[in-house]
Each structure stands twice: as C-alpha cells, then as structure tokens.
Symmetry: C2
Amino acid sequence: MIPVSAVIPGPSASPRRRPIGLTGVAVTGGLWADRMRRNREVSLLHGERQLEAAGNFANLRSAASGGGDYAGEADDSGLTFPFLDSDVYKWLEAVGWESARGADPGLMRMADRAIDLVGGAQREDGYLNSYFQITSPDRQFVDLEWGHELYTIGHLVQAAIAWKRSLNDERLLAMAGRAVDRIGAELGPGRRELIDGHPLIEMALVELYRTTGAERHLELAATLVERRGRGLLKPDRFGPEYWQDHASVRTAREPAGHAVRQLYLDCGAVDLAVETHDDELLAAVTRRWEAMVASRTYLTGGLGARQRDEAFGEAYELPPDVAYAETCAAIASVMLAWRLLLATGEQRYADLIERTSLNGLLSGLGLDGTEYFYANPLHVRRADGAGTRGPTSTRRRPWYPCACCPPNLMRFLATYPDLVATVDPAGLAIHQFVGGTIEIDAPFGHVRVEMRTEYPWDGAIDLRVEDAPGGEWTLTARVPAWCRAGSVTVDGAVAGIEPDADELSFTRAWRTGDEVRIALEMPARLTVPDRRIDAVRGTVAVERGPLVYAVEEVDLPPGAALETIEADPATPPSLAAPDPALPGITVVDVAVRVRDPDGAGVWPYEPASAPAESQRSATVRAVPYFAWGNRGPGGMRVWLPRTD
Amino acid sequence: MIPVSAVIPGPSASPRRRPIGLTGVAVTGGLWADRMRRNREVSLLHGERQLEAAGNFANLRSAASGGGDYAGEADDSGLTFPFLDSDVYKWLEAVGWESARGADPGLMRMADRAIDLVGGAQREDGYLNSYFQITSPDRQFVDLEWGHELYTIGHLVQAAIAWKRSLNDERLLAMAGRAVDRIGAELGPGRRELIDGHPLIEMALVELYRTTGAERHLELAATLVERRGRGLLKPDRFGPEYWQDHASVRTAREPAGHAVRQLYLDCGAVDLAVETHDDELLAAVTRRWEAMVASRTYLTGGLGARQRDEAFGEAYELPPDVAYAETCAAIASVMLAWRLLLATGEQRYADLIERTSLNGLLSGLGLDGTEYFYANPLHVRRADGAGTRGPTSTRRRPWYPCACCPPNLMRFLATYPDLVATVDPAGLAIHQFVGGTIEIDAPFGHVRVEMRTEYPWDGAIDLRVEDAPGGEWTLTARVPAWCRAGSVTVDGAVAGIEPDADELSFTRAWRTGDEVRIALEMPARLTVPDRRIDAVRGTVAVERGPLVYAVEEVDLPPGAALETIEADPATPPSLAAPDPALPGITVVDVAVRVRDPDGAGVWPYEPASAPAESQRSATVRAVPYFAWGNRGPGGMRVWLPRTD
C-alpha cells in the first residue's frame, strides 16, 4: 500500500527507510494532537481569510480576467513580492494533507474555490504566475533572480501532490503538469541554461516524477540541481552565495547564503540522490548538514543568523538577539532532515527534527493558532524595541506582507504524523514520541502499535503491540540525544539503554499485548554553548527533555531585569508550579543572582581587576521557548549570563 | 584675534572655553603629524582623483550644462545616492582648512576648478543639487526624507566657512548664502513645515550666522531643530527614530536611529544652545550623550551597532562582529564632543575625543592614506567572509559608492589641531597630547607653549613655556580617564595627581623656560566590558594608554585560530618587539591559552558539567586597533575570550 506522505521514494529508489505516512499514524493526545487540531479548526480558516484580505486570491482573479492591479503590501525596499501565489498553494497543500484524515466540508468548499481560481488564472500555454501576468506579461522567465516563477510553481506541484495522494483529486495535478511543462520547454535540458533564484521546484519535480512516473520531471530536477553554482544568476546585492550559485551542489562544503534557499535546494538534492542512487550527491548534502549542525544552528534548531540577507552567516556566528531564524528555515530544516533520515535511517536526523519542531519552529505559531513569528530570535530586549517592524517583529502577527511562514506552518502541522515512524523490510522504527497509534501493512505483515506518553512533558513512553503478524520483526525506538539516563522494560523484563545509544531495537515475534516501557529521565538541566559561539559566551540555557526554555520579562521578580540576572551553573533548575496562563505547559524555576549595576552615565568598560557589583538571590520562572510571547508584550532571553 | 576654526561661538555666546584654532597649534611630531602630512600630501590628491572617477565632478558639469546623466554607482537597493555633491564639498572643506597652514599650489588649482564647477552648477534662484537638477528638476524639496537637499547644502556651507576663515576667500560663501536663502524661502520660518531626512545643515547654519552675522541663518537653524520630532517625515522603512523624528530634540532621552544623523543633529542643537543661552537644550543633548557613552559606545569609540539601518540599536546592544561603527559616526561623535567641551569645559569630552580619534576613527584610514573602512567592527572572522561587500567591507577600499567617509576623514585631519587646546579668560587648557607648539593671543596676553611627547606611545609629556605675558594665568592639562597612576613636576617640584582628577591646573606668573613634566604610567592592561553587554560577555580587551589593541589572524602562532585563543585575565600583556611592517607602532604580547576544540559535525551545546577541552600556552601579538588590516587580509578581534 502506498502511504499518504509528502516524500515517497520510488520503487527503484534506495532509501534506508520508508514513510508510514499521515494516515498510518493517528496522533490522538498531547501537545502535537492539540496543535494539529487547532491547525485544522482555526489556522486553516484564518489562512483563507488572510489570503482573501491580503489579495492573494484577488491576484488570481485579476490574472484570469486580464484586469486589475497586483495586490500585496510592499516590502522594506518598496518592492512587491512576486510570489504571492505560493501562499495560496501552500494553504491548498495544507488542506490537501489535512483532508487525508477526513475532509472537512467547509474547508473543501474554500479549497474548491481556490482551485478554481488557480485554474482560471493559468494561461493556455501553461504559464501561471499572477504577478507577471498582471504587471508584465512580456517578462516571463526574464528575472530569474527575483521573479520566483519556478519557486511558485514548485509550491503548486507540492499542493497538487497532496491532493492527488490524499484525495486522489487530480485537478491541481493537471495544472501543475502543464505549468511544469511550460518551464521545461523554456529552461529544460537543452533549452536556456538558467535557474531560479529561489530553489524549491527541484524537490517538487522529483516528487512529481514519483507520482506520475514521467521521467522528464526527474530530468528537469537533475538539470536544475546540476546547473547551480555556475554563476548563472547575477550576483546582485548579496553575492552568489545568497542563492547557492557560488559553488556546485556537489562541492560546496558549508551551507551558505539564504537559509531557506540552501535547505530547499538540499532537499531536492537528497531526493534526486535517493532516486538515482547517487551516493556522491548524498554525501555532499550530508557534509553540509553536519557543518550546519556543528556551527550554524541555534539551540532551538533555528537557522539563519543574519537579518540582512536571511543568511547562515559564518561558522559560530549565532547572535541570539539579532538572529533571523526564520520559521520557514526551521520547517525547511525538518524537511531536509526527514529526507536524510529516510535516505540513511540515522536517528540523528530525527533528533534535529525533534529539537527544531518543538522549539524554533513551533515558536513561530501563537498558542491560539492565529498569530505568527517570522523571525525567532533567542533574545528580545524590549517588546517595543529593535524588531517591532517587518519580518523581525518581536510580537506575533496575524499575517505578514511576505507571508511565507504562516501557510508553511499549516502544511507542516498537517503532515506532522508523517515524521513519527518509518518502516523497513525488517521492522518498524519510532522517531517521534506522541500519544497515538501507528498502523501499517508492513513488508513483514500488518502491525498496530499504541504509543502512550505525555512527551515532551514526561519521559515515560509505553509502546503496546495491538496487532502483530506471526513472525519476527524489529521494533525500534529512538533514544533522544538529550537523554542522559533512562530505563526500558520489555514485557516487564528490564533491558538496558547503552550509553550513547541512539536507539533501542528489539527483535522478536511480537504478540498482541506485548509492551515496551521506556522511561527517559527528564530533569531540567543547564546547557552551555561551544566556546566558539562568541555571542553567548559565559551563559547557560535551561533545557528539559527536548525543550529549550526561556525567561520572560513578565516573570521577573521586582527589581530584576533581563540584563541583570545571572544563573548559577552549580544549581540545577527545578520544576515549578503551573502557570494558569499556560495550561498544560510545564514551567521551571531557575535560581539566579540579581546584580545591581552601576548607574547611568558611566563608561561601560573597566579594568579586569574592578570589584564585583553587589548581588542578591532570587528565583525566576522559565517557560518553553515555543510558548514565549503569549502573555502580552515583553522581553525574553534563552541564554542567561552565568555567575562567575 | 579670531581663530581659524570650524566652531567659533559668537561674541555674545556662552561657551565655557573658546578654540585656539588650526593655526594656533602647530602639530609637528608624532602620530598625528604623520597622519596630517599624509592627508595633505597623499589623501587630498587621491580624493580629487576619486571624485573625478566616481562622477561627482561630472554631475556638477552636467547640472551646469543641463545635459548628461547623473553619475554614481547604485547602492544595495539599486538606488543612486542623491548626495554625491556633498563629497565634493567635504573635500573642498578639507582643502580649505588645510590651506590655513599654507596653500599648496597644486591643491589650490584643483580646488579652484571644483569651486568653478559648483558655481557653474548653481541655478540662478540659488538652488543647487546636481542629482535633482539632472534627474528630476521639477522635484525640488519634494522628497525631504531621502533627497538630502538640505544636508548637501549644509556641507557646502561648511566648505564655504573653511575657505572664508582660512583664506578669506568668499567665492563658496556667496554660493552657500544663495543656496541657503533658497532653502529659507522654501522651508524657513512661516513657510512649508518640513525638515530634511538627514540633519547636518543645522550646525552649518549656526556657523554661517557666526560668520556673517545674519540672524536669519540662526533662525532657520532654530526652526529646523525645533520642528524635529513631530512626525513631519514619513516613517518609511526604518521608522521615525531613524531620522530622529520620533521625539523632540528637547525631550528624547536616548540617542536613537541612524547614528550619524543623531550626532549631527545634536551638534546643531549644541551650537544653537550656546548661541542662544538655552540651557534646557544643552542639558537635553548632554543627557543623550551620557546615555550614549554608558550603553551604546564601542570600546573604540565606535557608534552604531546595526548594519541594517546604521543605527544605535538598544542599550548594551554592541555586537563586535556585525558592528557598523561607521567612520563618519566616529567623526560626528568627535564633532559633538568638541562642541560639548567648548560649551562646558569638561575634560570628559576630550577623553572621548581621544579614544574615538585614536581608535574607531583612525581605523577608517589605511596607513598609506588612500584606503578606507566605512564600517569598523571589532571582530572580523574571515577576511573573505561576511562583510566583503558594500559598506561593511572587511578590507579597506580606495573609495565607496557612498563615499561619505573618505572626505570626512580628510576634513577631520585637516582640522585636528583645533582639538588640542582651548582658552578661557584665565588660562590655557590642553586636551590632546601631541608633539608641537601652542601659540595664542589669549585674553591674558600672548602665550607660547611647546609640548614634547611621544604620546600615544609614551606617557611622558613635557610642557615648556616659551613665551608668556607677565601676569598670572592658569595652565591646565587633561589627565586621561584611562590613566591609573602618574606623576607631575612643575619646574622640578613634584606635584601630585589626585585620584580621579580629570585635569591638572597650575596657576602662576609663568616665565619663559618654565616646565611642567607629566609622566603618565602606560602599562598594557586588560579591560572587561560591563556585564550587560551580552555580545562580549566573558572576554577581555587589551589596551595601552588611549589605544585599544587587536589581535590579527596574521600574528597567530601555528595551530591557533582567532576562535580558539583565550586570554588569562591574571596575566597582564607586555610590550613586544616592534614589527618592521608597522614602523613607529608599539605592539604588545598577550599570554593566551590555545584550546583544542572538538572536531566538526558535533552539536555545539553541551551539559554545563561537560569536561574542559585540552589547552596549551602561547603568546600572541596585539597591534593598535587603528593599524589593523594593513598587512594583508585576515581576521581580527579586539575582545578575546578569557580563560575561566
């Protein structure tokens, strides 16, 4: 049975593991179930209203009618974004995947209207991009640097695949196919040697090949991937690294430039490598991923240090305050890690998926499901300070002029169950811990496993085999990288967790009722950064399980400020009484010293031998980073200065 | 006698001290004499060539002829700068002041040509701005936000004053007067209530009043200053703080927005306050200056933390790596501190002038006099990294598309002697230590004092009275804020230096041959930042006397890297053998530990209890910050991580 999944390696591909898919995992309880429910019941409706209000639908209508102006707020530089169609496609993609769990009539009516708009806007020759159709119909495929024409169609393809796989609805697939063939005729193998300024279509084309079997889509994907790094794009203001045109996908050793662009490109490269058994290409992406994790990833999994060009920056350049860490980059990172996990089977990719999705990704979404962060810094000095404008807003907003992140969160949540487990010929592997049921017709037979857990709030995870074929198979569960100690029993018999083990694997002829009970110790803990990360030297962060914590200004005791508290690394944080304003969320207490700094008007540099300032002890609350900014405006910091 | 000086408070003004002027101080030996000589002999000629090559002169020709395109490279956003004329004016101003020390025939010929071009370009109605004259003659005074029309004329006024005061040449003054009257007719009191997006003209107008006696210039300056902070400019992409239009000059408590704009505005406010005895206005500027020094000034005196909008940023937001710290902001800071020094007589302003001019300002100029930094960060990871493009280039460049800094350095160096000493009715005060002679017809008689010193390389400063009137007067010398210990003798008799004294004052009937010998102890020392400066927590900087030092990649021992060395705060740095590549420059040795960090591919965050990495001892050289980047490309850092 073919799963309902965004990434399905083809029959002759070489992934180490294969997806179980959205419908193979029922997420029924806990944090993710709650987020998913809110996505379905609140965010998707909110998204439709915003797409109407922001003019995205109006643009498709104008393109269809040949009249009207292109809608959309201008960015900082006064430019209008030419990729507003892509937000419609991402929203449609989210509705498509969501509908695999049961179509909501209201959502389906909205989606039908949107699909009709897309169909109406597409030109007879297959071309589709409302910006160019409205503003400059004679400039198709001219501004490859900034036009986003391939990027936008890539999102249409992904939406089309969602509707095909979830509902066997081929309306969008027909449109996407024609749009892709128009691109192929223009820029395909043997045609004009150009690439898009924003990668994305590469992975969409591989998936289109997987869905339709048409080799030309794989060829076009390969062509676009291999053309990169040859200076085919004008360097423009941010240089060729910005769009990964400085070095080939096979040779670039480090992630560079615009973070989302790099990550989407590498997604396509992995898809291509898996489909074509190209180990060299896979190794190149793996090397970049390792360099990224080691030196360019925030504790929250956030990516992209620089606001100016939304770029990675240099190794160990990870400022917490002016961090960009775009929500879309976190989503793209999960997309890449998922592909690498399927390709290699390695749990380290699931570790990053967990860290990212529970921290620097989920922070992008307000608890109510209708407000979004575009940037996810780890330190905000003042709620009305620095980044109150534009994408670096320090308060969540209902929508953005460049609204890539909100519908990206919608499609992420709609596909979240996909990330929970995979299958291979010998067994089932669990990568993410959620309350729910995994059910699959595996190569070794029909399997159903129930997973009971309050994760990420508690480290107890009970796996109960509800249905099993007769023979032997392997049940594997990830041991999170954050875990320092824990225990496991299999049907009551104690089994050890090896130090440094990244997974537990038990092979046997499982019977209904068999239980694996995992208990991961989950004390709140203090974490220090690598000493090469200049911007957070001399600080500690609070973590518990997979969650990164943050101290919010609103929780500070009288007389303390975010810039005068220091955590004592010798005193571990402890669980605190729940905050009624954050229901269901575990908060912790951190012992701090509050310093009394010198008054104003004083030169802020002094001899190394200067006497210490006076201090007093206090306790401050820390909340999960993803939940910050939900109790009114105020500052926040993840990294706390540590006492000497 | 009226001094030749850029700032001359009027006869009825209320400054605490008055300038001696350019010609009252002969700087004959040492670092500043060398810089000034190179400015005269190399940089000013280089500037003229660059103004020709970049099209600044061509624009004036085109404006005169009514034909041709506007020249000038576009910026990052593809916009051409409308203020290219101002670079011509700054260069002319520099030549004007320089000529006070003796006109160089070659420079005078070049300047005459430039003055003719300016005169030829000016319209009959007094309007003068080649950008608008060439590109959009019907849009005069329409784009107040970005047009820089008043800013540009402000620079013309400053050039005109230089030529009037240095050479009694009134050609530019006539042009400036007509241009200013055109502005007054358009935006003056009772006319359209508008202000320029870039302050500067305010101080120029006060000085024009001081030069011409025409009250209308003072009134226009007052009008423009008082209009600010009322939202007369469209907020645009960076918000009203960007151009100080968010709060009135009298009430804004903290420096905000674009650093150069804030500083130039406050220069005008001080000039106005001094001229109109407006203590409230002076107090408002003083308060902002104190807030700036305490929380928004780099160790080097650099100002402006943010690259995106060249802005101050928030209190204690002082990242060393992505610092902007524009050379022009350092110059503007000296201009403001100088005005505050004259207004109040306080040596703390001279301290900031010293720190800024010897570090974050002088760093903008290559040792050869023809290469410039626009941004002056305190940490560059890789010479070919981050900021190799645009104004944040990590290598000095011969010129910039926005070339405000190079000619600003030229006028700064041409007027440097102005900053050395002041006079008041009772005596002479020395603020900066240079080899040379101070001579003035003071209110108390004709005085000549010779200053012998190798400062800033050595703390011995000998003052010898060469000529003195008969009666008593006071000789005052600043005690630098960096100084922790020292001694002084007056004619051989030991006099103490009080702890925390900011100056030494000796009142007597000085006779020719009297000597004051000051010996300031000048050990290399380690400095720590205020703990609220997040970005450099856990580091130390090396300083010696007024100089900030930096470690350059090129000086590292084998196996060490800028990110793996740590200084031991218990071991003071020591003087090192001179570097032949840096003649005349004192370098120091810093004892460091070199760490062996984990390999690549590792998650860079670990438990607070993780074991320390292995280390070994080494010594690295540090060079004065101003001299970095003169021995080929490579990284650099001022703040060194300190060992635990």
